[in-house]
Structure formats: C-alpha cells, structure tokens
Amino acid sequence: MTRSMRRVAVISVAAITAVLASALPLHGFGIVVMVALAGLDILLLQATGWLAFRRGSRLDERQTALRDRAYRRGFRLIGLAVLLLWLLWFGSYVFVVGGATPSAGDAIDGGIAGRILVVIAELLTMMATCVVAWREDGSPESDGGAAVAGQGLHGRWLAWLLLPAIVAAWLLAVAWGPPQAVAPGSISVVGGGPASGWACHEFGGGTMVGADFGATVGLRAYVCWNGTDAFVWGDPAVPPPASLNHYFKPYTALEFDAANTLESGCGLDNLSDFAAVGQTTCTARIDANGTLHYTVSARVSPLPFGIASREVSVDLVVTRTGKVLEQP
C-alpha cells in the first residue's frame, strides 16, 4: 500500500470515527459503520505490518524507534482528538436537537453510548498505527515486517475473519441475548398534580437488548393518582379514564396539545443506533381496582426486512395510591 493510499485510509478512519462521535442518528446502521471501521483498521494494521503491536525483540533498531515515536505522537494526538470529537458531538447535538429539550433518550440512562465506546476504543487502539501509516515514507512491511510477525498470506486473511465474528457476536446479542433494564435518565421526578388531591410522579427507564450495541425501548410516563385511579397524564395517545372527565374540562386544550407531550410520550425515548426500533405501541389499562398497567412495546430489528427481529416491552404498574408494583 502506497503512502497516499495509507493516508486516504487514515482520513477515512477519522471521518467514520467523527460520524460515530457525533449526535447524528444512525437509524440502526451503527453496525455497518462499525464493521467499515474495523475493515479499515485491518487494512492499516496490515499496511504497517502490525508494527504498533509487535514485540520489541522482533524489531530492528529502526522499527523500534519508529514504533516508539508513533506512540509518543499518538499519545499527544489523543488529547487533541478527544477535544475535537467533543466539540463535534456538541455542535451536532445542538444541530440535531435544535434547542428543544428534552431530547430523545433523555428518560433513559444507558451510560456511555455504544457508539462512543467504539470511538474511545478506536482512539486507544489505533492511534499509534494511524501515526505510523500517516508519517512513514515507505511501507514498513516492505522491510520484512510482515514476515517477521508471522503474517503470511494465511495470516493476512485470518485477520479479516474478525469482521464476520463481530457481526455474528452482535447479531447473537441483539437477537437472542437477554434483555437488560436501563436505569432512569435525566428526567425530573416531581410531585403534585394539575388538580388538588392528585399526586404525580414521572417515570423513566427502558429495556435494552444487545447491551450498548443493540437498541433500547424507552418509557417516559407522567403518572398521577388520586385514590380512585392511577393514570398517565400528558400523552394524547393515552386518554385519561372516563371517570375523570369532569376534571379535564379546563385542562384538555392546554395539557393535551400535541406539542406539549414531553412529560409522557410513546416512543420518544427509543435508542436505535445499532438496531432499528419500530412498531412502537403504548397501551394503558386501568383495572377494576384503579391500578394502571402501562406497557410500551416495540419490535427491534437488527437486520432489514424484520429478519431476526424480536418484540421488546417495558411495563409500568402503579396502584391508585401511588404504589409502584412494576417499573423499568
């Protein structure tokens, strides 16, 4: 691989890393981006003869100096890269959200997003290799580096098996892995309702499949109770029980405005970076005891055309006295 080709590969890695680090929605195609990144990484590793990861005893003096210098420059570049990627994320977040708060996913807290994990792992593992690929005049492998590292033709193709392995592990985790509960995120928890005698609580949370590299079905519901019934407030898709109709005369127009649905919302908090989430339905049922059974369900599809898709649901059960029987 020539120097210019190596530099094109490094720039491509930087561009893909930037896409992952940004707040731009991936619409379930995160795995494609991740595999592309892994493919470029393998290309660069082979182009540099895996120099950054080879033992010092297998390197001559020049290669050792080259490797160590790349680590020094790479270490410095990590700080710069972190700063630039953070600025990129912030700028794209403002662009995507457009000043509206809260945004999708605010009700759930999945920790560091999977795409950001990939970015950090990429920076930490590949920075030195990128520096070697960018700066070297010739090809390190032409110095016999590949042969020294035991990288024959067989070894070269073996590395590419990593890509199907990544896809298989991801598919396994998303399609068949056990779902995990996701903790509530940055939503506020408030008391007091729009009418006297009511108490309310904002619930948030979700169910995640495929860990940070799958999808999350989120739930955000502002639930009120008055001793007779518990019900969801503020979601036009979930009307209040008929027994409360007399309360809603003065509030209906204001509270059920479609633009004012941030307290409760169906599908507002789904996260679908690495797998598509569709057919989200939210159902609220109040049983004879006044207990609210609120369920958000959606279909998570790792592959197009619904292949290997699965149904994921989140349940919330609150009694008429505000006792929480089940929550995400």
Binding site: R67, R69, F75, G111, L124
Partner: protein, 395 residues
C-alpha cells in the same frame, strides 16, 4: 536538558533562564494576591480573618512554585535521584486517587479536593524539574538518548492509559451498579485525573524508568553554593507546604477558640408603656424590659477552621436576664470554612438562669478536621448575659 554524563545539545541560555526562577504568571499571581490582601486591609473587611490564612497559603504556593521551578537538576542533585523521582510518581498517583475519592458527584469541588489539586500542581512542577520536562521538550532540544528514552516512556504509558480508560468503559457496560460508580468517578474528580494522566503520565513513566545518574566524577567541579542553597530552600518550602494543612488541622483541635466583638443589634433603651394622662390619673407607668440581639462569630482553628455565627436574643429587667418565649433557632449553626467537618451540633442553646439573675446560653458542637478525622473536639460556646444586660462570650 542533558542529564547525567551524557553529552548532547544544550538549551540556549534564554530557554534555561525562562525555566529558572519565577515565571511572569507566577509574579503576576503573587502581586495579585498581595493587592487582594491590601484591599481587604484597607477596607477593614470582616472577611479578612478566615480568608487571610488561605491567601497566605496561596502566596506560599506561588513562592514555592517559583523556587522549585528555579532549581536546576544537575548531576547529584536531589531532584535527579531515582528514588526521589519514583517517590514523586507515587505521590502523584496517590494524589490522583485522593482527588477521585475526595470529590463529590456533580463537579462540586470540596476544600479537600482544592488542597489535593494544589499538591498535584506542585508535584507536577517538581516532576517537570526532575525530568527536565524531557517528555514534552521540543525535538531539537533533546539528544538521541533522551529522544529514545522519552519515546519509550510514551510507548509504556500508552497501554497504561488505555488500560485505565478501558477499565472505566468496561465498568460502564457491565452492570447498573458499576455504571453508577463510573458516573460518580467521571462526574467528580475523574475528569481532572483524566486530564492529569493525558498530559503527565508519559512524564511519570519517564521519571520511573530513567536510570539513576552516574555519581559525579572525582575531579568534577562542585555545584555552586547558591544552587545548593536554593535546592535546600525548595525542599524546605515543599515540606512546609505539605505539612501546614496537617499542622492547621491539629490546630483546630488544640488552639483556643476566638470570636469577633459582640454587637447588639437591638436599641438599648427601654420603652415606656402608658400615657402621661394615665400617669396623672394615677395609672402606673410600666417600663418594658430591655432586650438585645447579640451577634458575634466564634472561630475554631486557623486556616483549617469552622465558624459559628452566634445570635443570642435576651431581655433583662434589672433583676434577671431571660430568653423571651418563642425565640427560634435554625438547625444548622456551624459552618466549615475549610477542611473541617461538623459531626454533631446542638443549635438550640440550653438556657440556664443563675440565682443572681444571670442567663447563660450554651451551644454545643463537635468539630473534626477532615485531614485528621480521628481528632474530635467538643466545643461549648456560652453567651452570658447578666441582669443588667452586660454580655460576654465564654469559649
């Protein structure tokens, strides 16, 4: 830049001068602090008492910074010794752990964190001198051996850095509990430690792996006397700087309490209830009792200190002093100025009236220095008001 016996290109005299002694920023900081002190003194501010130790300490920090930065590492000097360098690395690592442990979530910086950060700055300066900033020096100012050494240090630092960050990422993904822990770490001092590792870890590794300098040759000229003196002063200042917070913590437990002057915010003269007409008709003039709201501030410790704003409301009528009914007190009365915790406090005073009519209000609390938490001091603050309204504070 050259160390030990290895010859190599020398920095220009200007570069060396820039790294020796006080930097312009350091001088500006010292001047600024002196101006703050002068302004507080001229304004006769009541805030000067608690602020004075910290301003003085900051001055000492900057002076130490200047002196340490001015010490040149030369063959045989204490900063060039391998064990000193390794001790510095251990100190920085321990300080980083302390910053994470002492920080509370939500980027709220406690006084203990501020102190640890001050130490970290000093340790970083000392590390920079010990390694002659070899890790970040421009390419032209290091020789081949130094270039190879610092490159190797970066290569070794890289996996250490990656392992620390990787451990945090794994912790974030493993479980909800570990995720909470990770968020706590990153949301508090973790970010500062991340920056510290990002910028200083290669220097730490370099300080650790750099071989011990060879002993000075028998015929080599002795170090200049001035350099020796400056090095010793630097050591003394660093030791003083580290010791002072601990000494001040001991002082919190043993120094006598002190207080500001007592101020009475109520009008002193009694008022008369009744009218002249009622008096002329034989009605009795009733003198209302005199009352006072006595304010003062009681301090425990100097530098590492806590204070209690005392507010005692009492009345007296010449026969006795007493606390009017309905007098209310808050639930918090002691305030930590720096590095002191208040494990227990009784903010509603116990009131005792003696046979001579003297009223004694007593507040009780336990103060404990955060750096030496095993030291506890039980503090009784008494405001004594006699039947004529004379007040004194017993501590």
């Amino acid at each position: 830049m050259n160390s030990g016996a290895s010859p190599g290109p020398r920095r220009s005299p200007r570069t060396l001068a820039a790294h020796a002694g006080f930097s312009p920023i350091g001088i500006l900081a010292i001047v600024f602090l002196l101006l703050v002190l002068a302004a507080l003194y001229v304004a006769n501010s009541t805030d000067i008492a608690p602020a004075l130790p910290w301003i003085t300490y900051l001055l000492l920090v900057f002076v130490t910074w200047g002196v340490v930065a001015g010490v040149r590492r030369e063959p045989g000097s204490w900063l060039g010794r391998r064990d000193v360098r390794r001790a510095l690395v251990a100190g920085i690592a321990a300080d980083c752990v302390g910053v994470v442990a002492a920080s509370s979530p939500g980027f709220q910086v406690s006084s203990a964190t501020v102190l640890l950060l001050l130490f970290l700055v000093l340790l970083n300066i000392a590390l920079g001198r010990a390694t002659e900033r070899m890790a970040t020096a421009p390419d032209g100012s290091v020789d081949e051996r130094q270039e190879a050494l610092r490159n190797r240090a970066h290569r070794l630092a890289y996996p250490i850095f990656a392992a620390i960050i990787g451990a945090l990422l794994v912790a974030d993904a493993v479980s909800t509990q570990s995720q909470t822990w990770t968020e706590h770490v990153l949301g508090s001092g973790g970010l500062l430690v991340f920056l510290e590792l990002l910028f200083v870890l290669p220097g730490m590794v370099l300080a650790f792996i750099e071989p011990a300098p060879p002993p000075p040759e028998p015929g080599a000229p002795a170090r200049p006397r001035a350099a020796n003196v400056q090095a010793r002063v630097a050591v003394a200042l660093v030791v003083t700087l580290f010791a002072l917070p601990f000494l001040a913590s001991v002082g919190t437990a043993v120094l006598p309490l002190y207080s500001s002057a007592v101020v009475n915010t109520s009008p002193p003269a009694p008022t008369v209830i009744g009218t002249p007409s009622s008096s002329s008709t034989g009605g009795q003039q009733v003198a209302s009792p005199a009352c006072g709201n006595f304010l003062s501030i009681v301090f425990a410790g100097w530098g590492v200190s806590a204070e209690m704003p005392v507010s005692a409301y009492a009345c007296w009528d010449g026969r006795r002093a007493y606390e009017p009914s309905g007098t209310g007190y808050g639930s918090k009365c002691w305030v930590s100025n720096a590095l002191v915790s208040i494990p227990a406090e009784q903010c509603t005073p116990s009131a005792v009236t003696a046979s001579d009519g003297t009223l004694t209000l007593t507040w009780r609390a336990t103060v404990s220095p955060e750096l030496l938490p095993f030291l506890n001091r039980h503090v009784d603050v008494q405001v004594i008001i006699d039947r004529n309204g004379h007040v004194e504070i017993h501590r």
